[in-house]
Symmetry: C2
Subunit: 481 residues, 2 copies
């Protein structure tokens, strides 16, 4: 990486993001409007996200399946709010196999309609419930303003779709999967998300309730990073999904859906990145450790590479994702910059003096310069030390992001202060019991949206800071992506 290519975050946050992801070879722009190419380094991060989530889904009793990309347009029309919400963003296939189709088909923007078409056939009795299915898939939403990972015309995601015999079970599932997302975000991605409920204005089209994990990015903007919807019986009625219950009565099922997408890759980048580039959270990092062997004289080369082999093998055997950069066309300094740009949590340097001491140098990405370096790590202890450092870096990243978030959530009780906080790219924490129209008014006047009502609420209710209405809940407002 050439010096100075990437703007600093304080000068130009958006420019920093866009240049960083391109220079680090995470992504490229697609040829069709708003699409993206996820390059191997970006995709490796997504694969680790997938694996961490998929393991959690299976541990909570879910199975994967795959439903078609193409949905008849008529399916979307069956649920009124759903079609209204998604119509403006649909991509339509009108011609196929050299002919015009009798009915255009929709490229799925989400799969509630096609999946529930099948659930209506698969569900007969209470014995068929619950259905706990997840799908890993690509979806298409034709967006006006796009940005790689954060909002793209095509993105990758998982979408869970469940059906239950009782309301309580569906609500429990909705919150359970929100908890799975939060656990993943905190313990894998080191992102201190806030679990909350969306307002009516911000709900998924067709849901009774939408829950969210909200994260604060490095510029203070909010990012909805995963959502879990209680769909009530809206789709059950639209698609006639009924079952014969144990009391011998026919009833509609209760449903949920929940999704998390490649947007999470953007969340990771914008939560942890710094002016030197990416900072990968250790548990999801494509490479957790990079070894940079250093030699000047050809006579040193062999011994340095032999020790590199040994250290690499020890780390790999311990289950640590390690790579080594043996390219002889670049200087060590160039390589340090490059791997910092790529955000690898730990760099190990091995030179002739290290060989002599049978020890190596560790440097951590999250603490630049001397402060983050430790010399003389014995070769025998490299794996244990690396594992300990990875845990420690995870904790440090999470603590740093949590502190940043908490410093930038400001308790507010009047609209003037609210505007100042939002103008300062912070979040306002308020008592809220305003109308949907008032929420919309605030959005138009300040660009702030109601990020969520945090699940963690005080015992008492308050007075709405805006409307003066009683019985208000705590809500977080901020600008969002």
């Amino acid at each position: 990486m050439a010096e100075g290519k990437i703007p600093s975050r304080s000068d130009d946050y958006s420019g920093w993001y866009l240049r960083t992801i391109q220079e680090a070879k995470m992504v490229d722009y697609g040829p069709v409007k708003g699409t993206m190419v996820i390059r191997p380094y970006g995709y490796a991060l997504w694969e680790n996200v997938q694996q961490a989530l998929d393991t959690r889904f299976k541990a909570t009793g879910h199975v994967n399946a795959y439903f078609p990309l193409f949905i008849p347009y008529s399916f979307l029309q069956k649920e009124a709010e759903h079609v209204e919400g998604f119509s403006p963003e649909l991509a339509l296939v009108t011609h196929a196999g050299g002919e015009e189709l009798a009915e255009p088909v929709v490229v799925r923007p989400t799969s509630e309609t096609i999946i529930n078409h099948y659930y209506s056939q698969w569900v007969q009795s209470w014995r068929d419930l619950p259905i706990l299915i997840n799908q890993w898939a690509n979806v298409v939403r034709w967006e006006l303003r796009t940005r790689p990972f954060l909002r793209t015309s095509e993105f990758l995601w998982q979408e869970g779709h469940t059906a239950h015999a009782a309301f309580e079970e569906a609500e429990e599932e909705t919150l359970k999967m929100l908890g799975v997302y939060a656990d993943f975000a905190v313990n894998e991605a080191a992102i201190p998300v806030i679990q909350g409920r969306k307002s009516e204005n911000e709900r998924f089209a067709g849901a009774d309730n939408t829950y969210t994990i909200e994260a604060m990015m490095g510029d203070g903007k909010g990012l909805q990073s995963g959502t879990s919807h209680n769909l009530g019986q809206n789709f059950a009625k639209a698609f006639d999904i009924q079952f014969l219950d144990q009391d011998n009565e026919r009833k509609y099922v209760w449903q949920t859906s929940w999704g998390l997408s490649t947007r999470m890759v953007g969340a990771i980048i914008m939560t942890h990145g710094d002016d030197n580039g990416l900072v990968m959270p250790p548990r999801l990092a494509p490479h957790q450790v990079v070894i940079v062997p250093i030699w000047r004289k050809e006579s040193e080369r062999e011994a340095v590479l032999a020790l590199t082999d040994e250290v690499e093998a020890k780390l790999r055997d311990a289950g640590i994702r390690v790579t080594s950069d043996r390219d002889d066309s670049h200087t060590a300094g160039w390589k340090f910059n490059e791997w910092e740009l790529k955000g690898v949590p730990i760099r190990i340097e091995i030179g002739p003096r290290d060989v002599a001491k049978n020890a190596v140098v560790f440097a951590r990405r999250d603490r630049p310069g001397r402060e983050g370096k430790e010399f003389g790590i014995a070769v025998d202890s490299v794996a244990a030390t690396a594992q300990q450092w990875l845990d420690d870096i995870h904790d440090s990243l999470l603590a740093r992001a949590t502190a940043f978030r908490d410093e930038n959530i400001i308790d507010v009780d009047d609209y003037e202060q609210f505007k100042a906080v939002i103008a300062n790219n912070q979040w306002a924490r308020v008592w809220w019991a305003g109308s949907n129209a008032q929420e919309q008014q605030i959005k138009e006047e300040t660009s702030a949206t109601l990020r969520c009502f945090p699940l963690d609420q005080p015992d008492e209710r308050g007075i709405c800071f805006f409307s003066g209405n009683p019985n208000a809940e705590i809500a977080l407002f901020g600008k969002g992506y």
Copy 2:
């Protein structure tokens, strides 16, 4: 499963296939022509296929990435043979976001064009080579005649796309990945595929050479189960992918692509299935073992389920994929039929008498009735026995399929005999040096296609059985899916 629902393979092979996959809940028909829903039991098999392949791809130095679903039509036109081959099958998006698009976009039928558009930007120097990228994705080909898994308008697959500095490297990669497919087929799916080269007529549109793994299904038809293409410099020239070589000259890269799809699920079903339903190859089976606890009196229930728990835990701890069927609404006999239909390799029966002896009963799916049953397996040895049985069942399935294949490949040296062999749903093994037109003539007259020229050839050449031309190679002809 109700008795007699599924036709026998000898009466109606096609009916057997279609009913079996539906009754076993592998698949459902999609609402849009030729699409399919891969249900959890079918998808679990595909996930195991994916994992076995992905591990092999990464072990051979490949990385995953993701390229957009939507390809500008103009990209396809850049390679003349390619667009000619795929045009009749394309699905086109003409409207999106509420507007007509200026240029229609193609839903990818395969990704050579869009990937090579990027390779032309990513490749500058010999240091950027080789590029070894794989993609897991859905693709769309509008087919006239479809059948779940075997040929569908949308299917899931992986497609590898590589770029190399030299022809020899590309040819080596093409054959290496063919070998990876064959190793997977034989050692995971227990399918004795034949590695071979396709004829010019059967080549991928845009390739210099297409290699294939060919499998013989239970009805004697051939199934092309994975292909590996040497693309030469065709796409390199169409997309201008050049690099500065070590000798300081600009050169076009040499390329390969290779793909294996959900068709493999169909291959597994049709290779091993019998008149009782599916027979899952043990290493890919979603459930390797099913435990059926059996009790009559309520007083027996607790002890039987306690032993079921114990055995299930022992198997799970040994890394064996195990499930247990504790549903009390069905008889043991019903369950035996159901799990046979689903093809689970090993059934373990646990009843009160087993509890008394602290032992269980094993039954293997591939040998029906008493012959495949073993009584009195000590509880302490269930894991070791199950692992040994799984290996043994794998070997038996592979041996049975190999014997079936070899019995049905007939050496032929005149066209009358050829026609009789093909009419008998067998394959003809012949010396072949005919023209493309003669190959086409045979196809029209007999429905047989040239499955492949096996890589494993005799040392000498022969005389073509059809044209009488000298210098012929051994070729396999048969009807195909």
